[in-house]
C-alpha cells in the first residue's frame, strides 16, 4: 500500500498539466471539478498510504521511495524521492483534506471570474508543490516544494493582476520570502559541507560529528527561511498584504497550509535543534513575541481578512513557540486544529464578503446572523475554537502548547496566556461586528437595487466545506486528548519521529486539569471582554489605537528605512556609478584616443568597417612577417 505514495503529489500535478493544456476548453465549472477531484483523489491515496503505515509496527514506520537521481556532481548526490513517515503523512493528510474542501468551495466562490480555469490550474500546482514539500526525503527537494508553493502564492496573491495593490502584494510576498530563502540556501550549503549529504537520513545520522556552532548556524539559518515563509518577526508584513488574493487562497495558502511549512521544517529538523539548544531558544522567543504582536494588531483591524491574517501570524507564533521548546507534537497538533478553524474562518469571511458585494470592512457589516445562519454558526464555532473555549479543538491544542510552555519557562507561558486572552477577544470583536449588533449596511428594497444588498448563505458547494470544517473545528481535539494516557493518539503516532528529543513536561493528571481550568478562564475572559465592549457598539476608538491600526508602524518603517533608501541607492548607482563612472571612463578613453589621433585624420574615416578591414589586413601582415622570419 505504501508503494502508491508517489501518486499523492502526482495527482494534483497531473491536474495542473491537464488544466494547462485544456483548461480553457474545460471551462467553468468543469475545470474546477477536475481540480477538485484530483485533490480529493490525492486525499484518498493519502488515507490508503496512511493506513498502510499505521499497520506497521511503530518502530518501522518509515518508508523511502526514490524515483531518480536529480542532481549529482562532485560529492553531492540528490535524489527525487519521498519519505513516508508519521510526520509526513500527518501533514499530507491534512493538506490534501483541507485543500479538497477549499477547492470545492472555490468552484462557487470563483464562479463569476473570467480566469476561472487559471485559478484552479494554480491551485492544483500549489497542492502538488506543498505535497512535495512535506513528502520530500531530502532538503533540496523540500526546497523545491518550498519555492514551488512560494511561486504559486505569488501567482495567486496577484491573481487579480489588474489591481495594482494585488500585483504589488504578490511581488512583496515573493521578495520577503526570497530573503528567508537566501538564508535557507546558506543553511543547505553548510549542511552539505558538514555532513556530505542533503538526504534527511544521512544528514541526521552524521550530526554527532558536527560541532555545536555549526549546528546552531544550521538551525538559525533554516529558521530564518521559516521566518520568511511562515511570516514571523521580522519578515511577516507580506502576509497582511497577501490578503489581496481571492479569499479561498487566503484560506488555503495563507492560513492552513503553506505558511505552516516553516513549522513543519522546524519539526523535521528536530535532530539538529536538539543538539543546538541556542537556536531552539531563538525560535521559541521569536515565536512567542510574534504570537503576542500579531494578536495585538488583530485587535484593531477593520478589514475582516486582515484580522484573520494577523491572527494567523499570531497562531503561527504559538506553533514556533512549541517547536522551539521541543514540544513538536504540540506544534503539529496546533497546526492541524488551526488548519481546520482558520480555513473555516477564512471561508466564512469569504462567504460574508460575497454577500457584502466585496466589501471587507467589519464596521459596515452587522446583524448578518439571521440572514446567513450557516455562515454565522460555523463562524461562531471558529471563534470558540480559536479562542480556546473548552471542548472545542483549539482548547486542547493551545492548551498543549501552554502547558509545555510553562514547563519550559513560565515567562513563555505568560506571553502565551496574554495572547490567548487577546485571541478570544479579537475574534469575538470580529464575530460580533459582522453577525450581531446594528445593521450598518443598506438593504436592497427591490430587485435590481444597485445600492442595496441582499445577503444570504452561499450555495451548497460553499456551504458543505463550511459545515465540514465547522465540525472538525469543534471536535478536532479528539485526536489528542491529554486527559487520559490512552487518548493522546497524535502524540503516540508521531513519537517515532521525535523520539527522546521531544520535550514533554509531565504534570500528572492534576496538573493537566489545573491548566485546563486556567485556559478555560483565560478564554472566557477574552470572550467576556469582547461581548462587553462590542456586543452593542461598533465604535470604540480607545480600544483601536492608531498604533495598532497601523500595525506598530513596522510596514511604514520598512518602507522608510529600507525600501526607499535602497531605491535611491539603485538610482544613484545606475545614473552616476554606471553611466558617469564606469562607462564614462570607457568613453573618456575613447575620446582621448580620438583627440590624440587628430593628426592621423586621413586614416580616421570614422567607419568601423574600415577598422575591421584594417584588422584583417594587420593580421595578414603579422602573419606574413612571422612567416618570412621563419623561413
Amino acid at each position: 500500500m505504501l508503494r502508491v505514495a508517489f501518486l499523492i503529489p502526482l495527482l494534483p500535478l497531473a491536474g495542473f498539466v491537464i488544466l494547462l493544456l485544456s483548461g480553457r476548453k474545460l471551462g467553468n465549472p468543469l475545470a474546477g471539478w477536475l481540480a477538485t477531484i484530483m485533490v480529493a483523489a490525492s486525499f484518498v491515496v493519502t488515507v490508503v498510504v496512511f493506513a498502510g503505515l499505521f499497520r506497521l509496527p511503530a518502530g518501522g514506520r518509515s518508508y523511502t521511495q526514490n524515483w531518480f537521481t536529480w542532481i549529482s556532481a562532485g560529492h553531492l548526490h540528490v535524489n527525487m524521492g519521498l519519505l513516508v513517515d508519521p510526520l509526513s503523512m500527518t501533514m499530507a493528510a491534512f493538506v490534501t483534506g483541507v485543500s479538497a474542501l477549499i477547492h470545492l468551495y472555490s468552484i462557487g466562490y470563483m464562479e463569476h471570474d473570467e480566469d476561472f480555469p487559471k485559478f484552479f490550474l494554480y491551485l492544483n500546482l500549489f497542492v502538488a508543490a506543498m505535497l512535495l514539500l512535506v513528502l520530500a526525503n531530502n532538503f533540496l527537494l523540500l526546497f523545491l516544494g518550498w519555492e514551488g508553493v512560494g511561486v504559486c502564492s505569488y501567482f495567486l496573491i496577484g491573481f487579480w493582476f489588474e489591481r495594482d495593490t494585488a500585483s504589488s502584494a504578490a511581488k512583496k510576498a515573493m521578495i520577503f520570502n526570497r530573503i528567508g530563502d537566501a538564508a535557507f540556501l546558506v543553511a543547505l550549503f553548510l549542511i552539505y559541507e558538514r555532513t556530505g549529504s542533503l538526504d534527511y537520513h544521512t544528514v541526521f545520522s552524521h550530526l554527532g560529528s558536527v560541532g555545536e556552532p555549526s549546528l546552531v548556524a544550521m538551525g538559525v539559518l533554516l529558521f530564518a527561511g521559516a521566518v520568511g515563509k511562515s511570516a514571523q518577526i521580522p519578515l511577516y508584513p507580506w502576509l497582511a498584504d497577501a490578503m489581496e488574493g481571492p479569499t479561498p487562497v487566503s484560506a488555503l495558502i495563507h492560513a492552513a497550509t503553506m505558511v505552516t511549512a516553516g513549522v513543519y521544517l522546524m519539526c523535521r529538523i528536530n535532530p539538529i535543534l536538539y543538539r543546538a539548544p541556542d537556536a531552539a531558544h531563538v525560535i521559541a522567543i521569536i515565536g512567542a513575541v510574534t504570537a503576542l504582536l500579531g494578536a495585538t494588531i488583530a485587535c484593531a483591524q477593520n478589514d475582516i481578512k486582515k484580522i484573520l491574517a494577523y491572527s494567523t501570524i499570531s497562531q503561527l507564533g504559538y506553533m514556533f513557540l512549541a517547536a522551539g521548546i521541543g514540544a513538536y507534537d504540540a506544534a503539529i497538533f496546533l497546526m492541524l486544529t488551526h488548519a481546520f478553524y482558520k480555513a473555516l474562518l477564512f471561508l466564512g469571511a469569504g462567504s460574508v464578503i460575497h454577500a457584502m458585494n466585496d466589501d471587507q470592512d467589519v464596521k459596515t457589516m452587522g446583524a448578518l446572523a439571521r440572514l446567513m445562519p450557516i455562515t454565522a454558526v460555523t463562524f461562531f464555532i471558529g471563534w470558540l475554537s480559536i479562542g480556546g473555549l473548552p471542548v472545542f479543538s483549539g482548547f486542547w491544542s493551545k492548551g498543549d502548547v501552554l502547558l509545555n510552555g510553562y514547563g519550559f519557562s513560565p515567562a513563555l507561558w505568560v506571553v502565551g496566556a496574554l495572547t490567548a486572552v487577546l485571541t478570544a477577544y479579537y475574534l469575538g470583536r470580529a464575530y460580533l461586528l459582522v453577525f450581531r449588533g446594528q445593521q450598518r449596511w443598506v438593504e436592497a428594497r427591490k430587485p435590481g437595487d444597485r445600492a442595496g444588498l441582499k445577503p444570504h448563505d452561499p450555495s451548497w458547494v460553499m456551504s458543505v466545506p463550511l459545515i465540514v470544517l465547522g465540525a472538525l473545528s469543534a471536535v478536532g481535539g479528539l485526536i489528542n486528548l491529554p486527559i487520559h494516557p490512552d487518548l493522546d493518539f497524535l502524540d503516540r503516532w508521531l513519537s517515532p519521529v521525535f523520539a527522546s528529543r521531544l520535550f514533554q513536561h509531565h504534570w500528572g493528571l492534576g496538573g493537566v486539569w489545573t491548566f485546563a481550568l486556567i485556559d478555560a478562564a483565560l478564554a472566557l475572559l477574552g470572550v467576556a471582554l469582547a461581548v462587553a465592549l462590542w456586543g452593542h457598539a461598533s465604535e470604540r476608538p480607545a480600544f483601536e489605537p492608531v498604533v495598532l491600526q497601523r500595525a506598530w508602524y513596522i510596514d511604514w518603517a520598512y518602507d522608510r528605512f529600507i525600501a526607499r533608501p535602497s531605491t535611491e541607492v539603485a538610482i544613484e548607482t545606475s545614473s552616476v556609478v554606471e553611466a558617469k563612472g564606469i562607462d564614462g571612463a570607457v568613453n573618456g578613453f575613447a575620446w582621448l584616443v580620438r583627440s590624440t589621433a587628430r593628426h592621423l585624420r586621413k586614416v580616421q574615416t570614422g567607419y568601423v568597417r574600415n577598422y575591421a578591414l584594417g584588422l584583417a589586413g594587420g593580421l595578414v601582415l603579422v602573419l606574413a612577417y612571422v612567416l618570412t622570419r621563419a623561413s
Binding site: I71, G74, L140, L144, S167, A182, L185, A570
Partner: protein
C-alpha cells in the same frame, strides 16, 4: 571515440560553407536564402546531436580529436577536440542558431544577414572546439566581424555607436590575449625547443609566479570583456540593446560563453597557480557583478538593457563557479553556461515579440499585457522564474551547484553571491509587474497573442528549461569527468587540497581519472 566521422571539422566547415553558398545566391532569391540558411543551421544542430549521442560519457578527456598540421613551422595546427565541458556548449550553439534565424522574421531572408550569422556560427563552434591556441584566437576574433555587421546593419536607433563600441572594446582586450599566447608559446619553446600552440602540450609549461600571473591577466582580459565581467561590461548594455533580436540572443547566449569557456579551458589548464593566487580577485569581481548588475537592473526601464545587466549578474555566478576550484562549482558553472544560454535566448525572443507588437522596449509604455496576451505572458513568467533560479527549472541546478561548491572553498563569497538570489527576484518581478500586470492600456484585439510559429520557435527552449530543471542528469554525467580532470589538475599543480566534504569517514570521495 572510435567513430571515424569527422564531426568537429564538419561542425565548423558546414556553416562556413553554407555562408559561402549563400553569398553566391542572388539576393533577389530571398526564399532560397532563407531555406538554405535555416537548413544549414539545422544540419549543424543535427551533427551536434549526433556527436552528443556518439560521445562517450564517463570519460573526461578530449574525444573526436582531429589534428592536421596547418603552419607546421610554428606548430600551428587545425586541432579540434571535444570534452564534457565543450560538448553541451556546442549542442547549445547548434540549437540557438536555427532559433535565432527563426526569430528573425523577414531578415532571415536577407542574404548578407544570413551569411554573417552562419559565419558567426562557424566562429563560435571553432572557438569551443579548438585545441590550438592560435586557432582558438582566430575563431575568437572571427566572431567579432559578423556581430559588428549584424548590429550595424540591422540594429536599432543607436546601432552605429553600439557596434563600434563593441568592436573596439573587445578587439582592444583581445590584443592582450594575442600577446599572451605568443609569450606563452615562446616560453614553452625556450624550455622544450618545441614550438607549438597545442594547449595540451602547453599545459606542461613551467611558469614562474610572475610570468604566470601576467599571462593569466593577459588571457583573462580578453575573456572578461567578452563575457562580460564587471567592470568591463559597459559595451554590453549598448550592444544588446541596439542589436537585432538574433544578435542580442547570440551575443548573450553563445558569445558570452566563449569568454567563460576560455577561462575554464585555458586559464585553469595553463595557469593553475596564478588562478589560485588571483582567485580572490576574480571571485570578488564575480560577486560584485552579481550584486551590481542586479542593482542597476532594478532601475532599468528598457527591457533589453535590463536583460544585459541581468546577464552581467548571471555571468558573475559562472565566474565564481570557475574560480572556486571545486568539482561541484565548476560543474555548476559549465551547466549554467548552457542554462543561461537557454533562458536568455528565450527572454530576448520574448522581448522581440513585444517590440514587434508594441514598438517599444520600455516597460513604462507597457501595461496589463497579461490580459491581452495570456500565453505570451505565461511563457515570459516561466522563463523569468528560470532566470530567477526557482527550483524545478533549469537555472536553479547550476546556481545551486555553483554556490554549494563555492561555499566549500570560499565560504564568504558564496554567502554574498547568495544575496543575488534575492535581488534577481526584485528586478525581474518589478519589470513583470510594470509590463504585464495592471489595467491594460491597449484595446482588446489590438495585439494578438503568441502565434503558432512564434510558439514553435520558443517551444524547444521552454521544454529544455523545464526538462533540465528536473533531469539535469544526462548533462551532469558528461560534464562531471572532464570537470574532475580540470579541477584535479589545478589542485595538483597549485598544491591545493581538495575541499573537505562531510566529517572524515563519512565522505567517500570519488575522484575520477587523475591527470
Amino acid at each position: 571515440m572510435t567513430s571515424t566521422f569527422p564531426y568537429l571539422t564538419t561542425l565548423i566547415l558546414l556553416p562556413a560553407g553554407a555562408a559561402v553558398v549563400i553569398a553566391l545566391i542572388p539576393s533577389a532569391q530571398r526564399r532560397l536564402v532563407q531555406v538554405v540558411g535555416f537548413v544549414a543551421s539545422l544540419a549543424v544542430l543535427g551533427i551536434a546531436s549526433a556527436a552528443t549521442v556518439a560521445f562517450t560519457s564517463g570519460y573526461g578527456g578530449y574525444q573526436f580529436v582531429s589534428s592536421h598540421q596547418w603552419i607546421s613551422v610554428f606548430g600551428i595546427s587545425w586541432s579540434l577536440g571535444m570534452d564534457g565541458i565543450s560538448l553541451f556548449l556546442v549542442l547549445m550553439t547548434g540549437l540557438l542558431f536555427p532559433i535565432a534565424l527563426a526569430a528573425s522574421g523577414e531578415r532571415a531572408a536577407d542574404k548578407s544577414f544570413v551569411a554573417w550569422i552562419l559565419v558567426l556560427e562557424a566562429g563560435c563552434l571553432g572557438g569551443f572546439l579548438a585545441l590550438d591556441l592560435l586557432l582558438f584566437f582566430v575563431f575568437f576574433e572571427l566572431t567579432l566581424v559578423p556581430v559588428y555587421f549584424v548590429i550595424a546593419g540591422w540594429g536599432h536607433e543607436r546601432r552605429g555607436y553600439a557596434a563600434g563600441k563593441f568592436f573596439l572594446y573587445t578587439l582592444g582586450a583581445s590584443a592582450f590575449l594575442f600577446v599572451g599566447i605568443l609569450a606563452l608559446v615562446a616560453i614553452h619553446a625556450s624550455q622544450t625547443g618545441v614550438t607549438t600552440f597545442d594547449v595540451r602540450a602547453l599545459t606542461d609549461t613551467h611558469l614562474s609566479g610572475t610570468a604566470g600571473v601576467l599571462l593569466f591577466l593577459g588571457f583573462t582580459a580578453a575573456f572578461a570583456v567578452k563575457m562580460p565581467l564587471f567592470p568591463f561590461h559597459t559595451w554590453s548594455p549598448d550592444a544588446y540593446r541596439e542589436a537585432p533580436a538574433a544578435g542580442s540572443l547570440l551575443l548573450a547566449g553563445v558569445m558570452a560563453k566563449l569568454g567563460a569557456y576560455g577561462i575554464i579551458r585555458f586559464d585553469l589548464a595553463l595557469f593553475p597557480r596564478a588562478v589560485v593566487t588571483l582567485a580572490p580577485l576574480l571571485l570578488s569581481l564575480g560577486a560584485i557583478g552579481i550584486i551590481y548588475g542586479a542593482i542597476v537592473a532594478a532601475v532599468e526601464r528598457d527591457l533589453k538593457r535590463l536583460v544585459a545587466y541581468s546577464s552581467l549578474a548571471h555571468l558573475g555566478f559562472i565566474v565564481i563557479g570557475a574560480f572556486a576550484i571545486s568539482r561541484e562549482a565548476l560543474t555548476g558553472a559549465v551547466l549554467q553556461m548552457v542554462n543561461h544560454g537557454l533562458y536568455t535566448a528565450a527572454l530576448f525572443i520574448l522581448i522581440a515579440l513585444l517590440y514587434k507588437r508594441l514598438g517599444t522596449f520600455s516597460v513604462k509604455e507597457m501595461r496589463g499585457l497579461q490580459r491581452r496576451m495570456p500565453v505570451l505572458a505565461g511563457v515570459f513568467t516561466l522563463v523569468m522564474l528560470a532566470s530567477i533560479g526557482v527550483p524545478g527549472l533549469n537555472g536553479f541546478v547550476g546556481e545551486f551547484l555553483i554556490l554549494a561548491g563555492t561555499f566549500l572553498t570560499h565560504r564568504w563569497w558564496a554567502v554574498v553571491a547568495t544575496a543575488g538570489v534575492v535581488l534577481a527576484a526584485v528586478y525581474l518581478l518589478w519589470a513583470y509587474q510594470q509590463a504585464f500586470q495592471g489595467k491594460p492600456t491597449i484595446e482588446a484585439g489590438a495585439v494578438h497573442d503568441l502565434s503558432w510559429r512564434e510558439g514553435l520557435t520558443l517551444a524547444p527552449l521552454v521544454i529544455l528549461i523545464v526538462l533540465l530543471g528536473i533531469f539535469p542528469g544526462p548533462l551532469l554525467n558528461r560534464i562531471g569527468p572532464s570537470v574532475t580532470q580540470v579541477v584535479t589538475h589545478v589542485e595538483v599543480v597549485a598544491h591545493q587540497r581538495p575541499p573537505q566534504v562531510g566529517s572524515p569517514g563519512v565522505a567517500l570521495r570519488t575522484t575520477g581519472a587523475q591527470r
